[in-house]
């Protein structure tokens, strides 16, 4: 073994070194490298080496195709079909319906379109509010806990716990706290503080929107905290020391060094938070059960209910496709505006 590889020794090393050390120099992986002598073993070697990454990727590719890409394509196809209950077990037989499903979904004068539009509006309001609060709490805690103080480690562990809890246990606990008769929230607001004239309903009616935002923020802000804490650790200490010498106070340092240094992380973080929050299904589903109150009818829940209540998968798929298009447009716009598109791909 050592004898044969010995003759080829300079070959893999010499070849992989230049392109491996210079990421981005040739991201497409094209093969214009100087090759002075083309001998047979070298060619075979090149073929073998060229195939290796694809072999390594093969299982991942198959799974992605099977569970992500294929269903997506099928989902798009389904949205053009009249896929009602009788065709669920034999969906090839469902008749084509052209753009009918989409027409119904965006016909804002008819009940279906109206409900979708309202759900979309609620989801947007919920997302903006929740993302803003998540970021605000995360950045506040991260900056305040940047310097050492007694108990910082314990506090950090405590703050991360809601994020580590399985969603459903966290949300079930909140739904207990939000109960009308025996919940903590009404006990504190009504019995102890006397802020409300009577006990409020938190899981039905208009208040359910507030409940949804609070529960969602409680669960998600630790993630923002986690990301921002990690980012703060990458700011070199000497920058702060230099600012110190220049006479900047602690608030000045936060404004002029810390916040600008967080910009790149913020850009990714806000996008991720936006996508997660907008697509959130778990929190409303566990909090409200199968029928979400009107004020908290998020789009994922809305599509889920209209699909599995009526078993009209065609219309459900059409709504999903519209949702996807919206997210694509927003994400592309966001990446363009923040000028991150090019760099991000290079990083990947």
């Amino acid at each position: 073994m050592s004898a044969t590889t010995g003759t080829h020794r300079p070959c893999p090393y010499g070849r992989s070194a230049p392109d491996a050390r210079a990421p981005g120099a040739d991201p497409g992986g094209g093969g214009e490298r100087p090759q002075p002598v083309r001998t047979r073993p070298r060619f075979a070697e090149r073929l073998r080496r060229g195939g290796v990454p694809y072999l390594l990727l093969f299982p991942a590719l198959v799974l992605e195709l099977l569970i992500h890409i294929a269903p997506m394509v099928i989902g798009v196809v389904m949205s053009f079909k009249q896929l009602v209950q009788q065709y669920i077990r034999d969906w090839g037989a469902a008749p084509w319906s052209g753009l009918d499903n989409f027409r119904v979904a965006v016909d804002f004068d008819a009940p279906v379109g109206q409900a979708l539009l309202r759900s979309f509006g609620i989801t947007c309001a919920f997302t903006v509010l929740a993302v803003a609060l998540n970021w605000l709490l995360g950045v506040t805690a991260a900056i305040l806990m940047q310097d050492r103080f007694r108990g910082r480690g314990v506090l950090r562990a405590l703050f991360l716990t809601p994020y580590a809890l399985p969603v459903y246990t966290a949300v079930i606990t909140w739904s207990f706290m939000l109960q009308h008769d025996n919940g903590l929230v009404n006990h504190v607001l009504h019995d102890q503080l006397g802020l409300t004239g009577s006990r409020s309903f938190w899981l039905v009616g208009g208040n359910s929107f507030v409940s949804l935002v609070v529960v969602s923020v409680w669960r998600t802000w630790p993630f923002a905290f986690l990301m921002l804490t990690a980012a703060l650790q990458n700011i070199p200490q000497d920058v702060y020391e230099a600012a110190q010498v220049d006479g900047a106070g602690v608030w000045g340092r936060i404004r002029h060094i810390t916040l600008p240094a967080l910009r790149p992380v913020n850009q990714v973080l806000v996008l991720v938070l936006f996508l997660w929050t907008f697509n959130d299904f778990n929190v409303p589903y566990v909090l409200f059960g199968k029928s979400a109150p009107e004020a908290a009818d998020l789009i994922s829940i809305h599509i889920y209910q209209s699909s599995f209540v009526t078993w009209n998968f065609g219309s459900g798929s059409a709504m999903s496709v519209l949702l996807l298009l919206f997210l694509l447009v927003v994400t592309a716009g966001y990446l363009l505006v923040t000028g991150r598109g090019g760099r991000r791909e290079a990083d990947v």
Binding site: Y13, P53, I67, I69, R148, L160, T161, F176
Partner: protein, 299 residues
């Protein structure tokens, strides 16, 4: 936080104990007030979960009590009979650990390719795979449901309602982030190491398994924890893809609420039992998780 940063800061703190770097009083008080509020917000539900799980039933059916009238471990015994919690637990354990094992194995190879090779289609692969993360789960749910149902009809292969279908789904859903994080960890393993291994006669596979994987083991463990947490917590697919036999905890726990009378003390006890292993694992390994998650973002 990395050990190096920690020791450097500790050393810095020791060097100048009461220097001008000590934060001004205004900052210290802002910090105290805001962190106290955040602590209350974070800790209250955790306290409710813990204290209610130790309450007798009359404490949770009447008005809320901050302090239990008596402490009892009865709920922790009853949870196993009210709903088949043991079966749900086993199902979740089987599904989550299989999905984790398969997903990590697949991700290790893919991440090695992404980290060490420049090949045609590399960028397309990473961009496509990562962008699936932004897609709403509901978009995959309806087609996957149909695929599993129709595949079952065609081949007799029971994917719908089985644990296999759920495992397949979960392992794929955690794959993109696992590949992304692992590639970050592999990037931090010096290339000289596996190049040396390859020169010594290991193939690429040998270099990966004998050099890179051991060196990146903390990262691999972190990715495994992430996958396990995701599978353990998933609700959407579990809600339609499981039946009475294969039901997992995420749906099973709601069984306590469908009884005529909700045994909230048992619900809280069950929630606690289900959460403790996950939370412990996460808190132990969070520093590795953070390193992986931010590797791509802050580069």
């Amino acid at each position: 936080m990395s050990e190096a940063v920690r020791t450097r800061r500790a050393a810095a703190a020791k060097r100048r104990p009461k220097s001008p770097t000590a934060p001004p009083t205004s900052f210290v008080w802002t910090r105290r007030v805001l962190l106290t509020l955040l602590t209350l917000f974070t800790a209250t539900p955790l306290y409710v979960m813990l204290s209610s799980s130790l309450k007798p039933l009359q404490d949770v059916t009447g008005a809320f009590r901050w302090i239990p009238s008596t402490l009892t471990v009865r709920p922790y015994i009853d949870i196993w009979h009210t709903v088949p919690l043991g079966r749900y637990f086993l199902n979740s354990l089987i599904v989550a650990s299989s999905a984790t094992g398969c997903s990590v194995a697949v991700a290790v190879f893919a991440a090695y390719a992404v980290s060490r090779y420049r090949f045609r289609g590399r960028r397309a692969f990473t961009v496509t795979v990562l962008s699936t993360q932004m897609f709403p789960g509901i978009l995959f749910l309806l087609p996957l449901f149909l695929i599993f149902v129709n595949l079952g009809n065609l081949t007799g292969l029971a994917l719908y309602g089985s644990r296999g279908g759920l495992i397949l789904t979960y392992m794929t859903f955690t794959l993109p982030l696992s590949v992304w994080m692992l590639a970050g960890y592999f990037d931090s393993v010096p290339r000289d190491l596996d190049e040396a291994a390859q020169m010594d006669g290991c193939g690429p596979l040998g270099a990966l398994l004998r050099v890179v994987v051991p060196a990146a083991l903390p990262g691999i463990v972190a990715v495994a924890v992430y996958s396990f947490m995701t599978a353990w917590s998933e609700v959407l697919f579990a809600s339609v893809m499981t039946n009475d036999v294969t039901r997992t905890l995420s749906i099973g726990l709601q069984g306590y609420a469908t009884q005529n009378e909700v045994y909230w003390n048992q619900v809280m006890a069950a929630s606690l039992v289900v959460s403790v292993p996950i939370v412990a694992g996460f808190l132990l390994l969070q520093r590795y998780l953070v390193a992986g998650l931010t590797a791509g973002a802050v580069k």
